[in-house]
């Protein structure tokens, strides 16, 4: 901490000394800024990883492609270590169609099962090869 002002009654030499010390203190400020820059670099790289849907994470989703009740097309989005997804489309518990989708981590696939549009609960059930299972359904 230094004074950079001209203190009343100080000699010229004292003023020069004070100014030199002030520039020395500026180094302290730059060090604080440098610490912040390093911290920001770490935070950006680590939080970007945290927000990366694939990095260190294991999850997948199942959803209808549209909200249109006349469509049964569905999307499997994979961010897990599983790669094979077996689906069954059924209506009120009766299986109408089955199939398999192969997906790498970070990929998604849209499946259009082409089943008749009838009244009742149309379900899409998907089981991954790691044993996890998800289901979506529409009531018509």
């Amino acid at each position: 901490m230094n004074e950079t002002d001209k203190p009343t009654g100080q000699s010229e030499r004292a003023i020069v000394t004070l100014r030199r010390r002030a520039s020395g203190d500026a180094v302290t400020v730059f060090a604080v800024i440098a610490f912040f820059v390093i911290a920001s670099g770490v935070l950006f790289s680590q939080i970007d990883r945290g927000l990366d849907p694939n990095y260190g994470k294991n999850w997948w989703t199942l959803s209808f492609e549209t909200r249109d009740p006349a469509s049964d097309a569905f999307i499997v989005e994979n961010h897990s270590s599983a790669t094979r997804f077996t689906y069954t489309v059924s209506r009120d518990g009766t299986a109408l169609k089955t199939g398999t989708v192969t997906l790498e981590k970070g990929k998604d696939a849209t499946v259009s099962p082409e089943v008749p549009v009838d009244a009742g609960r149309t379900s899409v059930s998907v089981t991954a090869n790691d044993g996890t299972k998800k289901e979506i359904y529409r009531e018509r």
Partner: protein, 659 residues
């Protein structure tokens, strides 16, 4: 590249403040480098805020060039005026710029090489610990941060100042509910959002990144630097003969405010939680007090002008901090009256001389003109101030116990701080020093506000007040720690700082003191450690939000759960259809709070969607989409034929109400 742009824009704020500081006060303004840095950062924030508000109120679109102009125009205009003034103003004008010609400023506030190394070690350790905490906790999930970033994104998306309003479900009588027209809200203040909007607009960095947390970390770091600077100045006035090195006091304060309680509120926990207003408040309050202290002790009116500008910035940023600052200033003033009871006429002359000077009067003139001609803070426009004063309506507002207060401030800081107050009050030169009221009034009034708010007719949550205690009690604890050896000094012995206690006993006592402080601070840090693993839950919620944002229209009404979904307050950033979109089922306790009755529909539509009251709410309000955590809330929808499950993840499912 994005990181580089973020850093350039972010560091431009203190740089613009530096130029403004130079423009207003000139090169020879007597501040240390750390003080100049902290004041520059705070002034840069203020200049940016007021410029953008002025442009926004003038209906100028807030595009990147205008934001850049907001950052640069005022500081460079100030520099130009300064250069003209320095060159052409008569010498007699320049003489009146400083009223402190006859006051000897303390000269012993400088670092020794060892002290500089210790400072860098402590501040480096503080930043290192906070960064470690934020790496785990910093993924954007915090509720408050999500709310604040929504408003900042509104500014970026619309190019206008936000209209702080929201639609709510209201009871319209006969057991029916409806969605209200947008109603003004006073919880948010423009200064909390403009810096984030400016950084995002100029650098292009996404709100879904480390940028909000990094910027808040910078604010937190500068606030600790400010506290250090304030404690050094305070110590230099308390010990004018140099018996205790002010920088040593500052280092002890840095020890208590930095690494020891690095994670606790209001430190890294507030950074990750996005408690923007409090963090900016904790930056501005020590700086305002530092400027006030120096203006009073050195009779330099320029510092008073500076304190007015910083307090004005705070007023447009955070109502609670502004409120606390006002009480702290009153507390300091009352303490000053008590300390100067036999010198009141001299005190009045001293205050009057400083106050009635060009700098403070110009700053007050600017504040009044801005308030009446440009914009008022939202809490003034919505008359929210009256809700903070009066009889406490909730048990959470009637004061904390002493134990709770100690935990808020940090037990070690409270214990040593109170000891410091007792010791200081028993030492005559300190007790009679006119600098002493600045810490006595600050800590004392906050203690009363936290312990006995009814004495001051306060009606605000006492735990929020408790978070403001950490700064004054860090200073007091630092004073005690640095002054500890001098309590046992025997002036007859040589060297003068030799203690009268046997060496082993003194060493033991010092070690106990140090170990207690370190143990307590570290324990607080451990209890505040975040729960890692939230990142995946948050990413799943963001993915579901993106899915729904792409497949809905403004006519769709969406309700989500706040209790069990991660990062749910961030969902609104994917839609940008209003602050209350999606609607939210809040914490369960809020629906049974008799002191603040609220609508029940957001609870019933998720908890009991198949019962008549739930169905009536769907009919009245028009909600057709719901997002819930399947672990807790799937069964009631699965059993109903009224809903389709259109999206299924591990921690979030989306249901659509069938037409």
């Amino acid at each position: 590249m994005i990181l580089l742009l973020f850093l350039i824009v972010t560091l431009s704020i203190p740089l613009s403040g530096y130029f403004l500081f130079y423009g207003i006060f000139g090169r020879s303004f007597p501040v240390s480098s750390l003080e100049r840095f902290a004041f520059s950062f705070a002034l840069g924030l203020g200049s940016l805020d007021f410029s953008i508000i002025a442009f926004g109120k003038a209906k100028v679109a807030l595009t990147p060039p205008i934001i850049l102009a907001s950052l640069l125009v005022v500081p460079f205009a100030a520099v130009a005026l300064r250069l003209i003034y320095d060159r052409y103003a008569p010498a007699t004008w320049k003489k009146t710029a400083s009223t402190s010609e006859t006051v000897v400023r303390p000269e012993h506030v400088r670092f020794s090489p060892t002290q500089r190394s210790l400072f860098l070690l402590l501040i480096g350790l503080t930043i290192f610990l906070k960064t470690l905490f934020l790496v785990d906790a910093g993924v954007p999930t915090a509720t408050d941060l999500g709310h604040h970033m929504y408003w900042s994104k509104v500014i970026v998306d619309t190019g206008r100042l936000p209209d702080y309003s929201k639609r709510e479900i209201v009871d319209v009588g006969n057991g029916h509910s409806a969605l209200s027209a947008p109603e003004p809200i006073s919880d948010f203040i423009i200064g909390e959002h403009l810096p984030f909007a400016a950084i995002a607009e100029l650098s292009g960095v996404s709100f879904f990144s480390a940028f909000p947390v990094s910027f808040l970390l910078l604010i937190n770091i500068v606030s600790i630097v400010s506290l250090f600077a304030l404690s050094v100045r305070l110590a230099s006035f308390l010990f004018p003969e140099g018996s205790i090195s002010p920088v040593s006091v500052g280092l002890a304060v840095l020890f208590f405010a930095g690494p020891l309680f690095a994670f606790a509120s209001p430190e890294a926990k507030f950074v990750s939680g996005g408690v923007v207003g409090n963090l900016i408040g904790n930056l501005m309050i020590p700086l305002v007090l530092l400027a006030l202290l120096r203006s009073f002790m050195e009779e330099d009116a320029r510092f008073l002008g500076l304190s007015v500008l910083l307090a004005l910035t705070l007023a447009y940023t955070h109502h609670l901090s502004t409120f606390v600052l006002a009480f702290v200033i009153v507390g300091i003033f009352l303490s000053l009256l008590v300390v100067s009871i036999r010198r009141l006429p001299a005190l009045a002359v001293r205050i009057g001389t400083v106050f009635f000077s060009p700098y403070p009067l110009l700053a007050i003139g600017f504040a009044v003109a801005f308030f009446f001609l440009v914009a008022k803070p939202t809490y003034i426009e919505t008359n929210a101030v009256t809700t903070a004063v009066g009889t406490a309506v909730k048990a959470t507002r009637t004061g904390l116990s002493f134990l709770q207060t100690s935990e808020s401030a940090g037990v070690a800081r409270m214990a040593l701080g109170l000891a410091a107050l007792l010791v200081a009050a028993s030492i005559r030169p300190i007790r009679r020093s006119q600098a002493f009221p600045f810490i006595l009034g600050w800590g004392g009034i906050l203690l009363v506000m936290a312990l006995r708010p009814t004495w001051l007719f306060l009606n605000i949550p006492s735990d929020r007040i408790g978070t403001y205690l950490s700064f004054p009690f860090s200073i007091l604890a630092g004073l005690f720690l640095a002054g500890f050896p001098f309590l046992f000094r025997d002036p007859k012995r040589k060297p003068a700082n030799d203690v009268f206690l046997p060496g082993n006993i003194f060493l033991f006592a010092a070690l106990v003191l140090f170990s207690f402080s370190t143990w307590n601070g570290s324990q607080e840090n451990q209890s505040a450690l975040p729960n890692p693993g939230k990142a995946q839950d948050a990413v799943e919620v963001f993915s579901a939000s993106r899915y729904l944002a792409d497949r809905t229209k403004p006519g769709d009404l969406f309700l989500k759960d706040h209790n069990y979904l991660a990062a749910d307050s961030w969902m609104k950033l994917f839609f940008m259809r209003g602050y209350a979109y999606p609607l939210s089922r809040g914490y369960f306790k809020r629906y049974t709070d008799e002191t603040n009755p609220r609508e029940q529909c957001t609870l019933q539509m998720i908890s009991v969607p198949n019962l008549p009251e739930g169905q009536a709410c769907f009919k009245d309000v028009g909600v057709n989409l719901l997002a819930v955590n399947p672990t807790y809330d799937a069964a009631q929808f699965e059993s109903s034929h009224a809903f389709s499950r259109i999206y299924s993840g591990t921690t979030i499912q989306i249901y659509e109400r069938n037409r």
